[in-house]
């Protein structure tokens, strides 16, 4: 794209251009000195950048009131995942009202692109993308998170309770 | 005026026994029938315009005509499973005049050429079963049943089969399945019972009153029978009247008799002189008539059909001012939900759904759109099943909503019945 230069006397002189530029610089200097909190710069290690509410961080498997996994191993997340990184092995639950639960639920963090498709596909709000950013790991560290890592890791404090629960659903007659 | 044809001698007890029955003209028509040929009897019944008294109102002569002409053994079944709420005419007839039914069945069996007949009585009527079995013993002893009846070369066996409490066994093919020892579920009906019914043999199923009326058609001839009733629906009909009248009971009136006269003359007018609100003319599966429609209604198949209702089994239920129609519909739908045999999906799930909607209205958490939801569910249940139970549940619902809509809306808005009572 070509820029049309205005042919007027002012631009031929050297000094006015410099003074205009310095003017802008000093105006910003005074502004930053007077109102420090409006500055965009974070002094990083102390002031951390907070992520938005919809930040898609490490996965969380929600739990029911009694602490058991909310997931019924229906494999919809594994089907919807573009990177094919979720492997689930289902097993028979002895309580007939629960009937099916995952005995092994693994997400391969190195394959996962954190797109949130699994969160959208889950019919029972069993998997969510939590607020924690992905922790880097050394080569050979096990990047495959299983149930104890996804649902009961220390930072979750014994599992995040889900709002939707079976008793209300069955009482509501669905 | 009350035309006493069938129910002439119901009041006197001797009519129950064989002697009392014969003394009042019993088994006379048997001899005249044996003189005629079976085709003649069918022709006379066709001429007399006798229509089924059980509920469908199908011309009996025509139904007998469907039978295949080959000599294959066939069955005659009497449908005494009177499950239609409000109907009790068959019980009165079987307890007061069992031989009338037996003679009617022998003549009909002779006409259709069947040598084996069953009377399927509903399980609750224990007294009717006892009385009928005693009457059959007497008939066998007197030679009116069994081999070579009255020397005519026609042998005829009759048996009573006791049902076990299922409204669905009132339906033709439902009763046949129940007789075959299966669950009383109606059969699919391109093979109609007249071609393939009980044990895959041609079968004729008629109501108690229809078979009894055959005797009087033989006695008075087709024109004699046509004296009563209108041109299209001939003869007399037993009406079981109940509800808010002074003298509920069974009254025999000619077809075409006006409903208001039936209420005021035969039944002694409304109970405690209250104002009439609605009438269910033909049992629970007949759409309801408002007070104004009752005024111009006459008790015959055509007039009630024009008004959107039906004669059905002739069970007239009179409803007065103090009754709440929503609660009435809830009782009717509970009946159909409990009695649906569960074979076809629209009826099995639809009756349950209708009842739950009306029950949620009565419990006070109904929604305004429930009313046209009821209408659409009933509309889409009707005519989509093997037997007519889904129509019997859908038609009353639609008529209740169409004619008493403001009562439903009041109930939903206020959460209580419009009627104080």
């Amino acid at each position: 794209m070509s820029i049309v230069k205005k042919e007027n006397s002012l631009s031929k002189w050297y000094l006015p251009g410099i003074l205009k530029g310095l003017g802008i610089t000093f105006r910003n200097l005074i502004k930053n000195l007077t109102s420090r909190d409006e500055m965009l710069t974070l002094n990083y290690p102390e002031e951390k950048y907070e992520y938005g509410p919809r930040f898609k961080g490490n996965h969380v498997l929600t739990v029911k009131k009694d602490g058991s996994l909310r997931c019924t191993a229906c494999m919809l997340c594994a089907t919807n995942c573009p990177a094919d990184c979720i492997t689930i092995v289902a097993a028979e639950h002895d309580d007939p009202s629960v009937e099916k639960y995952p005995i092994n639920y693994e997400i391969d963090i190195l394959r996962c692109v954190f797109c949130g498709f699994c969160e959208e596909a889950c019919p029972v709000d069993a998997i969510r993308m939590g607020p924690e950013w992905q922790v880097p790991g050394v080569n050979g560290a096990s990047f495959i998170n299983n149930i104890s890592e996804l649902a009961y890791r220390p930072s979750l404090g014994g599992g995040i309770k889900t709002v939707l629960d079976d008793e209300e659903r069955i009482k509501g007659g669905i | 005026m009350e035309a006493k044809l069938l129910s002439e001698h119901y009041s006197d007890d001797s009519y129950i026994g064989l002697e009392g029955y014969k003394s009042k003209g019993g088994y006379a028509e048997l001899k005249t029938a044996f003189k005629m040929k079976p085709e003649e009897i069918i022709e006379v019944v066709k001429q007399s315009g006798l229509r089924g008294r059980g509920g469908a109102g199908f011309p009996t002569g025509v139904k007998w005509g469907f039978l295949p002409k080959n000599g294959e053994p066939r069955y005659l079944l009497c449908n005494a499973d009177e499950g239609e709420p409000g109907t009790f005419k068959d019980r009165v007839m079987m307890e007061r005049a069992p031989h009338q039914l037996i003679e009617g069945m022998i003549i009909s069996g002779f006409a259709v050429g069947s040598h084996k007949a069953y009377i399927y009585v509903r399980g609750e009527y224990m007294d009717s079963v006892r009385i009928l079995e005693k009457a059959i013993q007497e008939a066998y002893a007197a030679g009116y049943l069994g081999k070579n009846i009255l020397g005519s070369g026609f042998d005829f066996d009759l048996d009573v089969y006791r049902g076990a409490g299922a409204y669905i066994c009132g339906e033709e093919t439902g009763m046949i399945s129940s007789l075959e020892g299966k669950k009383g579920q109606p059969k699919l009906k391109p093979p109609f019972p007249a071609i393939q019914g009980y044990l895959k043999k041609p079968t004729i199923v008629n109501n108690v009153e229809t078979l009894a009326a055959v005797k009087y058609i033989i006695r008075d001839g087709a024109e004699g029978y046509r004296k009563y009733g209108t041109e299209k629906s001939a003869g007399t009909k037993l009406f079981s009247v109940s509800g808010d009248v002074n003298k509920p009971g069974v009254y025999e009136v000619p077809l075409g008799y006006s409903l208001m006269d039936l209420i005021n003359n035969e039944c002694g007018g409304m109970r405690e002189g209250r104002k009439l609100k609605a009438v269910i003319p033909g049992g629970s599966s007949a759409p309801v008539l408002t007070a104004e429609e009752t005024g111009r209604a006459t008790m015959d198949y055509e007039c009630l059909a024009e008004m959107g209702s039906m004669l059905g089994s002739g069970a007239v239920i009179i409803i007065d001012e103090t009754r709440c129609m929503v609660d009435m519909l809830k009782v009717i739908l509970h009946f159909y939900h409990h009695e649906s045999c569960g074979q076809c999906t629209p009826c099995r799930e639809g009756t349950g759904w209708l009842e739950k909607i009306v029950r949620s209205i009565v419990d006070g958490n109904g929604r305004l759109q429930d009313i046209d939801l009821l209408n659409r569910v009933a509309e889409n249940m009707k005519g989509r099943t093997i037997c007519a139970l889904s129509d019997a549940a859908a038609l009353p619902t639609m008529s209740f909503i169409q004619k008493f809509r403001e009562e439903f809306e009041f109930f939903i808005r206020e959460g209580r019945s419009q009627v104080k009572g």
């Binding site: - | 009177e82 499950g83 239609e84 709420p85 409000g86 109907t87 009790f88 068959d90 019980r91 509903r122 399980g123 609750e124 009527y125 224990m126 007294d127 048996d159 089969y161 006791r162 049902g163 076990a164 409490g165 299922a166 409204y167 129940s178 007789l179 075959e180 020892g181 299966k182 669950k183 009383g184 044990l199 079981s240 009247v241 109940s242 509800g243 808010d244 509920p248 009971g249 069974v250 269910i280 629970s284 069970a315 239920i317 409803i319 009754r323 609660d327 009435m328 009782v331 009717i332 009946f335 409990h338 009695e339 045999c341």
Partner: protein, 157 residues
């Protein structure tokens, strides 16, 4: 193990021969079992009937559970069946059953402590002219009012 009495077996044999199809004998023999087994049909009874007649178990069980007059739970000596259909419910039949259950202290279908009564609601009994109609075992009682019901309860021992 439930065992039919000799006359019971006799009746079942007669019923088998009476109808063209042996399946038609199921309902009469179930009535007979119900009479001999304190008013209900137990699974052993179905087993026994199946060996007696050769009809497959599931078929007898189907017929047993389809019809309402066969009870699947033990019932009292007197089974009070109150009709709660259109005309009878217009004459307060449902309220009658509620306070009857309260009086006997049982819910519907249960047996009272002294084992005499079971109350249950049934469909139209075909006696709407003298509503509300009540059937006790085999006999009809008409125009029942709460008072008449009390006298009936006290009479039936």
């Amino acid at each position: 193990m439930f065992e039919l009495s000799p006359e019971g077996k006799e009746l079942v044999k007669k019923e088998l021969a009476r109808y063209e199809d042996k399946y038609s004998a199921i309902i009469p023999s179930l009535y007979q079992i119900q009479k001999e087994n304190e008013g209900w049909v137990s699974p052993e009874a179905v087993d026994h009937l199946s060996e007696l007649t050769g009809i497959p178990h599931s078929h007898i069980n189907e017929v047993l559970k389809f019809y309402t007059m066969f009870n699947l739970k033990p019932t009292g000596k007197y089974h009070i069946q109150v009709c709660c259909n259109i005309t009878c419910s217009m004459f307060q039949a449902r309220e009658l059953t509620d306070d009857l259950c309260q009086k006997l202290g049982i819910k519907e279908g249960e047996v009272s402590e002294d084992g005499r009564f079971t109350v249950s609601r049934v469909e139209c009994l075909g006696s709407c002219d003298n509503a509300p109609a009540v059937q006790v075992n085999e006999t009809y009682h008409d125009n029942m009012t709460p008072e008449k019901m009390d006298t009936l309860i006290s009479e039936l021992k």
